[in-house]
């Protein structure tokens, strides 16, 4: 069953006298529990697509449906609540609140939703276990490494059990080894928690963790790779790089 459905998505920007077509008719569907990577060269529209899917931006044309709810019908406030409860975000720059501890940062969406963290403590504990930060839960972000901060961000994105988790270049600011840890973590979230995940990345090694890789170019879907049967990561990477070469990415 598709949890997310985007049809005929267009996003145009006016830049002085020029109109930039960031997305030019993208159809996109994600099944529950799927792990999708979006790739493409700079300016291909991959970030724009992620923003539209996350309800952070409004499409010029077309619509996004998340669990049957069309974004175009949601006023700003409702959209905010949808993001809060149904969408998890992981950013390139971690974006943690420096005043809160790791555990408090994970509880942040619950706090924002007016909930009492105590009620959700078992969920929080489970996620801290998952991201392996049990001994670092009382540390503030400036006492954590980049990888640890990104793990906190992932736990934060998962705490509300969102319908979908969106990650924008989650390894973009990390070294290769740490990047692997982060991508494995996302993979485990998908496999163990059944979390639906969409990752935007330009890194084939990161994209290889996904079940499906969508390639964009000039605001349109160009190619799609499906790895249902293929389990070997290096093989996946090779295939992805082949397409990238073909597309001159």
């Amino acid at each position: 069953m598709a949890v997310l459905n985007a049809t005929n998505l267009h996003k145009f920007y006016q830049l002085g006298e020029f109109q930039i077509k960031a997305l030019n008719g993208v159809d996109f569907e994600v099944e529950a529990g799927a792990f999708v990577a979006i790739m493409g060269p700079s300016g291909s529209g991959k970030s724009t697509l992620l923003h539209l899917l996350g309800g952070l931006d409004v499409a010029t044309d077309g619509d996004v449906m998340l669990t049957g709810q069309a974004f175009s019908e949601l006023p700003d406030h409702q959209m905010t609540l949808t993001r809060r409860r149904n969408i998890g975000f992981v950013f390139q720059f971690f974006n943690l609140l420096p005043t809160l501890t790791a555990e408090e940062n994970i509880q942040l969406p619950i706090l924002i939703d007016g909930g009492k963290p105590e009620v959700f403590q078992s969920r929080v504990d489970q996620l801290i276990d998952l991201v392996g930060l049990n001994d670092r839960r009382d540390h503030k972000p400036d006492q954590l490494s980049g990888g640890e901060q990104q793990r906190v961000a992932i736990a934060r994105a998962l705490v509300t059990q969102p319908a979908i988790l969106l990650a924008d270049e989650p390894t973009g600011n990390l070294d290769t080894k740490t990047g692997k840890v982060i991508m494995s973590l996302l993979r485990r979230s998908c496999d163990e928690l059944g979390q639906t995940i969409i990752v935007v990345t330009h890194d084939p090694r990161a994209a290889a963790y996904a079940d499906r890789v969508v390639f964009l170019r000039d605001g349109k879907e160009q190619e799609t790779l499906k790895f249902k049967e293929l389990k070997d990561l290096s093989e996946r990477i090779r295939k992805i790089m082949g397409i990238m070469e073909k597309m001159e990415i």
């Binding site: 923003h51 996350g54 952070l56 931006d57 700003d76 406030h77 905010t80 609540l81 993001r83 809060r84 409860r85 969408i87 998890g88 975000f89 950013f91 720059f93 974006n95 609140l97 420096p98 005043t99 809160l100 942040l108 969406p109 706090l111 924002i112 939703d113 007016g114 934060r156 994105a157």
Partner: protein
């Protein structure tokens, strides 16, 4: 250089809102200083001009050392025979009223320099008078010979007010009844025409002496000397004349009379100056904040400029020149506002002085330049640290990382120095070891040390405050409050300065409230005793001695007691004669109408009253007791008609008449030592159950018209006094409000800066589902916490400061006031802190809530 100017101007242009905000702080500070400067100058000038102009070309003045020892013909003869003296002008002065006037007057209350008038007649020699003073005749003519003509010259403005024309006859009240004088001329209200605010007239000398039973008596001799002398030579002549005439008279300079009045006013003005200094101090915080913000925002720009070869010095210069431009414009605007503000202030001070200052309102060049200079310097000082920070921006770091606020030892160990500074300054201020003269300056410096102490204490305690107020913030702002209030610990220096600015404003409000309450408390209890009766009777002409008995016989009057105020001199314990009021009472009837407030509540009141009744004893005011360290049983020397006379001090009482320079004696001593049997005032106690208004009507009916009585009920007088008090303190209130206003600008700036620094963070919060409303609450909670800290610390600080001010006032003036912290004041200052913090946060909060999520999450 051209590049520097260009960059500076562009940067100012790019942020008009912030430029205006920072300029406003300086503008308000400068306007305050200038307005006070102009008003000070105008009022001082008005006072000294009044005395100088009204005494014209007079070189020296001879007056009696004691009120009831008039100068005699003998004194004139001796003076005339002194070689240096060219002309002697004798003057007789009389306070009176016009018969057809509704009996004016009222309670003669002197408070912070306020005084009430009456009509003053000078009897002068018409031939000699023009030698001494330039009367500007605007209509009719001046007095002519003979010396006994029934003629009067009035001041034009007064005549207009009273609708009197040249040629009219006016009826003047005298102890012998009504005397009719013909108005022969009008003089302009300038020079001598300003005497007694223009409620002034001149009659021939002999006429005055006859009308007021003063034949052969004079109040003042004005001396013109043979040659104009240097000030040193003049002083020698003055001393020579003084020696020649003996101690019974005082030989003074004409302007000397104004000195005491200036003294009273200067205390008030010193207080205002102090507050405007604080306003500027707070303004400097604002400038610091604004520039720190510029530097944070432009770190990248500075980094780029450094990369392409700009030196640190050039960067620092660029920021400083921005400050210079702001300082010049802000101060310039402040000057304009100050000139306008001076008009309002002059009205207020003028009403306190009972004179119109608007004519004297010139902008003194020195003060103008000074306030411009101070404004610019303060701006540059405020911008100095941020500019140095800007200079320290490294080329590479700036291109990658956002600026960080400087936090170092101030945050870590500043609080230790803060506590030390606070304790030391408080101890110094309460102990008050300073000698009398530099007391105010040294005291003020110590108060600033206290400010410094409090400032240093804040950064180290911010986190504790945050933890303590977490439940409150959660209660008000829900979970957004929990997230928002944590932010307060992030830029501690910036937050601290904002809190300190706010707490100073709050403390000022509280100080003013405490002072007002403490003053009111003592004033009210004194007024209750002083006008202890129900009705206060007063007349514009001297009352007969038996008047009190007659009033006592009127229906509804329970008791009546006569009081007379005699201006005398006493021998101050430090040596030298000083002016004083001798309040002569009749202890037997006095205690039936009202009571004394004894400073020592354990005193044997009966014994003290008996001692007063027996004569040769006095009650001294607490002001005198404090000032000269006198107590019960000590001796007190008064100059009387029989020479210096010592009295024993029977009690110390609370009495603020004549600024507390008053002693109470009995009427028998008044007759014996001052040969006076007059009454200034009668206090009346109304029979129980009889309405005061009825009794006033009864007295009016029987004696009112005949004796030109003015009757006022206790309530009316108390009402008037509270109005006077409010007026006197309203200026302090205004300054405190200004300090709060400036600090609110600081809050706006700090929050704007915080929000700007946290754009990405706010974008993330919005992305993960924080609503706009929650963002607003988050920012409001941050400001609210600043308000809580500023309010509470300001409260404690304000109470401490008020205690110190009251102690200082006691030491300087002798007023001893009970220390009262009014609940209303406490609540007001807390509410002001919270409300101001919230109001100031509205705009930054709205701005934060409108953060564009996409731009923010890619913002670096």
């Amino acid at each position: 250089m051209r590049l520097l100017i260009k960059l500076t101007l562009r940067s100012i242009q790019r942020h008009p809102a912030r430029t205006i905000l920072s300029m406003l702080g300086i503008t308000i500070g400068v306007a305050g200083i200038l307005a006070l400067g102009i008003t000070n100058q105008a009022s001082m000038q008005s006072i000294s001009a009044l005395f100088e102009e009204s005494s014209g070309k007079v070189d020296l003045m001879v007056t009696a050392s004691s009120d009831n020892q008039p100068l005699s013909e003998g004194t004139i003869r001796v003076t005339e025979n002194i070689a240096a003296v060219r002309v002697v002008l004798p003057i007789v002065k009389a306070n009176t009223a016009f018969a057809d006037q509704a009996s004016g007057g009222g309670l003669e209350l002197s408070f912070l320099g306020m005084d009430s008038g009456g009509f003053l007649l000078h009897g002068v020699n018409p031939v000699l008078e023009p030698l001494a003073r330039d009367y500007k005749i605007v209509e009719g003519r001046f007095l002519e010979d003979p010396l006994e003509a029934l003629e009067v010259v009035l001041v034009e403005s007064y005549a207009q007010d009273e609708d009197i024309q040249v040629g009219d006859r006016v009826e003047v009240l005298t102890p012998n009844g009504v005397e009719r004088l013909r108005v022969v001329g009008l003089i302009a209200r300038e020079g001598p025409g300003q005497i007694n605010n223009g409620a002034f007239g001149i009659v021939p000398l002999n006429t005055a002496q006859r009308m007021f039973n003063r034949l052969g008596e004079y109040d003042q001799l004005d001396l013109l000397l043979t040659e104009s002398n240097s000030s040193q030579a003049l002083e020698e002549v003055r001393l020579a004349i003084q020696r020649r005439l003996g101690e019974a008279v005082s030989v003074t300079y004409p302007a000397g009379q104004g000195q005491r009045m200036s003294q009273m006013l200067s205390n008030y003005q010193i207080g205002l100056n102090f507050l405007s200094g604080i306003a500027l101090f707070v303004g400097a915080f604002l400038i610091y904040n604004a520039f720190a913000m510029t530097v944070v925002e432009r770190t990248r720009e500075f980094g780029m400029l450094r990369t392409i070869g700009m030196t640190r010095r050039q960067i620092i210069l660029q920021v400083i020149s921005e400050a210079l431009v702001l300082g010049i414009f802000g101060s310039g605007l402040g000057v304009l506002m100050g000139i306008l503000g001076a008009r309002g202030l002059a009205g207020l001070v003028g009403s306190l002085l009972g004179t119109d200052l608007s004519a004297d309102l010139v902008v003194p060049g020195g003060t103008l330049l000074l306030s411009l200079f101070v404004g610019i310097i303060v701006t540059i000082i405020g911008a100095l640290m941020p500019s140095i920070q800007a200079g320290q921006v490294s080329p590479i770091a700036a291109l990658r990382v956002r600026g960080r606020s400087q936090e170092g030892w101030i945050t870590r160990s500043g609080w230790k120095f803060g506590i030390a500074g606070l304790l030391v300054s408080t101890a110094i201020l309460l102990w008050n070891p300073f000698p009398y003269d530099p007391q105010f300056i040294l005291g003020s410096l110590t108060v600033f040390l206290m400010f410094g102490g409090v400032t240093l204490m804040i950064p180290g305690t911010v986190s504790t405050w945050e933890k303590l107020s977490r439940p409150l913030m959660r209660l008000i702002f829900r979970n957004s409050g929990l997230i928002g209030s944590r932010n307060i610990g992030r830029s501690k220096v910036r937050t601290t300065l904002t809190i300190v600015a706010l707490l100073i404003g709050v403390a000022m409000i509280l100080v003013v409230r405490v002072m007002t309450a403490s003053f009111s408390q003592d004033l009210v209890s004194w007024i209750n005793a002083y006008i202890g009766g129900d009705i206060y009777i007063h007349s514009s002409v001297p009352l007969r001695a038996d008047m009190a008995n007659q009033v006592a016989g009127i229906t509804g009057v329970g008791a009546a007691t006569p009081i007379h105020y005699q201006n005398i001199e006493f021998m101050a314990p430090g040596g030298g004669l000083e002016p004083l009021t001798f309040m002569a009472v009749d202890p037997a009837t006095y205690t039936r109408v009202t009571s004394f407030i004894f400073s020592d509540s354990n005193i044997n009141a009966q014994a003290a009253l008996a001692e007063l009744n027996d004569g040769g004893a006095l009650f001294i005011s607490s002001v005198i007791a404090e000032k000269y360290n006198l107590g019960v049983g000590d001796r007190f020397w008064i100059r009387t008609n029989q020479g210096l006379q010592d009295f024993s001090i029977a009690a110390v009482v609370v009495d603020f008449f004549n600024q507390g320079l008053v002693v109470t004696g009995n009427r028998h001593d008044l007759r014996r030592f001052f040969r006076s049997n007059e009454i200034s005032t009668i206090l009346v106690k109304v029979d129980a159950g009889v309405p005061t208004a009825d009794v006033i009507a009864n007295i009016e009916q029987v004696y009112g018209k005949r004796y030109h009585l003015s009757l006022e009920s206790n309530e009316t007088i108390r009402g008037n006094i509270s109005v006077l008090m409010d007026q006197a303190f309203s200026m302090f209130d205004v300054m405190a409000v200004l300090a709060v206003l400036i600090s609110s600008l600081g809050i706006v700036n700090t929050l704007m800066m915080n929000i700007m620094e946290r754009t990405q963070e706010i974008g993330m919060l919005r992305a993960i589902g924080m609503t706009r409303g929650q963002v607003i609450k988050m920012v409001l909670s941050e400001a609210g916490l600043m308000g809580v800290i500023g309010g509470l610390v300001g409260l404690v600080f304000g109470v401490l400061l008020a205690k110190i001010f009251l102690t200082g006032m006691t030491a300087m003036s002798g007023y001893r006031l009970d220390f009262i912290v009014p609940l209303g004041g406490v609540i007001t200052s807390l509410v002001v802190a919270l409300v101001i913090s919230q109001l100031a946060a509205i705009q930054p909060a709205r701005k934060a809530s409108r953060t564009n999520i996409l731009e923010a999450i890619h913002y670096e």
